[in-house]
Amino acid sequence: MLDTNWAVAWMRASAAIIAEQRMALSELDRLIGDGDHGENLDRGFQAVVAKLDVVYNTPAEVLKMVAMTLMSVVGGAAGPLYGTAFLRAASATSTAANWDAETVAVALTAARDGIVARGKAELRDKTMIDAWTPAVEAADEAVQNGLGEMEVLFAAAAAAQQGAKDTEPLVARKGRASYLGERSAGHRDPGAQSTALLLGAAAQTAREAA
């Protein structure tokens, strides 16, 4: 079962991978947006890390702090979207001190639904939803197949990564990239890519916790 320490470790790993990929994410955004996605998220996760040293009692407490921090520090489209995602995940799992496989799936579904509620994107609009929805579906399937929490996260992360890759041929219909119309095809969506990185960090830290 994944405990509060895992949630903290996940956020440290997220901050590390976002910092490492900062330039790459911004470059994706420069090609079809305004080139700040890596910068924005990096600022946000640095602020998250600065708040990880206090004591948290549940993963939900950690995620709630993450939500509030990202909302107030990231800005742009991604700030409210990720903020809402983490807030919904926290609310949906608030009673659980430890996450089992099912809780993981519940959290991912709540996060995805939050993003859709806020941003109204549909699948194949070339947004982070194109990473989140495959991840949720893969997680659900893994739970149904009786896999454990770590395997559920790996399935979700892999699906998100594939989803991010699959945004490349799409024409954007939401967010800044939509102004490009047909010219947005041929580039990966930065938000879908950052989603894949965050879920990848969740899976990696689950393995290390196991």
Binding site: S26, R30, G33, D34, G35, D36, E39, N40, R43, M71, S72, V73, V74, G75, G76, A77, A78, G79, P80, L81, G83, T84, R118, G119, V171, R173, K174, G175, R176, S178, Y179, L180, G181, R183
Partner: protein, 332 residues
């Protein structure tokens, strides 16, 4: 990249500090979270709040003051501000009659203002929102995030500000702001790109003989790239879709607004104004009011935008009403 800045991380905070030092009679600076509020305001006036990514100066801080905004919330350069700054700005702007949020239609701005509005409402402030989306360069809004808010924003802020100042209630001020938005269209052009300080490289690339028609104020792409042309031809290309979309009838009165993107000399804006005003006259429209200058910019981008606002008597009166801000001032 050569810029008159210190650490790129501090461009917004230092610039706003300087702004506060230069205009102590007009504004107060709240450093953390960062927002700008109007120094003197009467009670029971509808409050006006706007904000968005920085880099478009004088928008929005330059429009805080009598007859215009009560608070402005600057985000990082080209990045919308966050709810934790928008909320206190909204509370500061409320003098009991509610607050109108004037939001440029970009996903980031819309989402952050929306969250802030929810939270401010939860704290007991009446909040309404007008989304400015005057940029005709974005053609089909069914398949996009919708039209962007550009030059029209300045006109919405001025005219709604005058309505609030004369004592209209929140519903009325919101309706006026919406009416301005519904009657203004804009299109821009870039001759060169701009460089976001923390990025350090130009936001896009334009060849020496290319221009981008329909550019956004963050350097977002427009309708198409074409080879460089004479100013008159460019003015025609910008004005034509504006007029088509606005669907003016001959004899109608308009406000013609030629806006510089930051790196274009004023003298060139007047060359564009000249052609635009000739074209409007040829079509039988009357230019009742005009505005020429750098009012909503994209850092040091070279280029301009043309906005046309359909005027009626009330909008003209509200436009003429006294205003006293750092960047727009008359009648007082």
């Amino acid at each position: 990249m050569k810029k008159l800045i210190n650490d790129p991380k501090n461009v917004v905070s230092e610039s706003v500090q300087g702004f506060g030092l230069a205009h102590p009679d007009l504004v107060s600076i709240h450093p953390d979270p960062l927002f700008i509020s109007r120094k003197q305001t009467k009670s029971n006036k509808v409050g006006l709040v706007s904000g968005g990514g920085s880099g478009h100066e004088p928008l929005h801080a330059g429009y805080v003051g009598f007859g215009m905004l009560d608070a402005a919330v600057p985000g990082a350069v080209f990045t919308s501000p966050t709810p934790d700054a928008i909320i206190p700005a909204t509370l500061a702007a409320d003098s009991g009659a509610g607050v109108l949020q004037i939001v440029k239609n970009y996903t980031g701005d819309v989402l952050n203002f929306e969250m802030a509005a929810e939270m401010a409402t939860a704290e007991g402030v009446q909040v309404s929102t007008v989304l400015v989306n005057d940029d005709v360069a974005v053609e089909d809004s069914l398949y996009t995030a919708g039209r962007r808010g550009v030059g029209g924003t300045v006109l919405v802020e001025k005219i709604a500000g005058a309505a609030a100042e004369r004592g209209d209630d929140l519903e009325q001020v919101t309706a006026i702001a919406q009416r301005v938005n519904d009657n203004v269209r804009t299109m821009g052009v870039a001759l060169s790109a701009c460089t976001v300080p923390h990025a350090g490289v130009p936001s896009f690339e334009l060849a020496d003989d290319e221009i981008e028609i329909g550019i956004g104020i963050h350097g977002e792409p427009g309708r198409h790239r074409i080879p460089m042309e004479a100013a008159d031809g460019i003015a025609d290309r910008l004005l034509e879709p504006v007029l088509t979309d606005l669907n003016l009838s001959a004899g109608e009165s308009v406000l013609l607004f030629v806006n510089g993107m930051g790196g274009t000399p004023l003298s060139e804006l007047y060359i564009v104004y000249r052609r635009a005003s000739q074209l409007l006259a040829e079509r039988g429209f009357t230019i009742e009011r005009s505005l020429v200058g750098n009012y909503i910019t994209a850092l040091e981008m070279q280029g301009c935008s043309i906005s046309v606002l359909r005027l009626d008597q009330e909008l003209t009166e509200l436009w003429d009403a006294p205003v006293h801000t750092a960047a727009l001032r008359w009648g007082v």
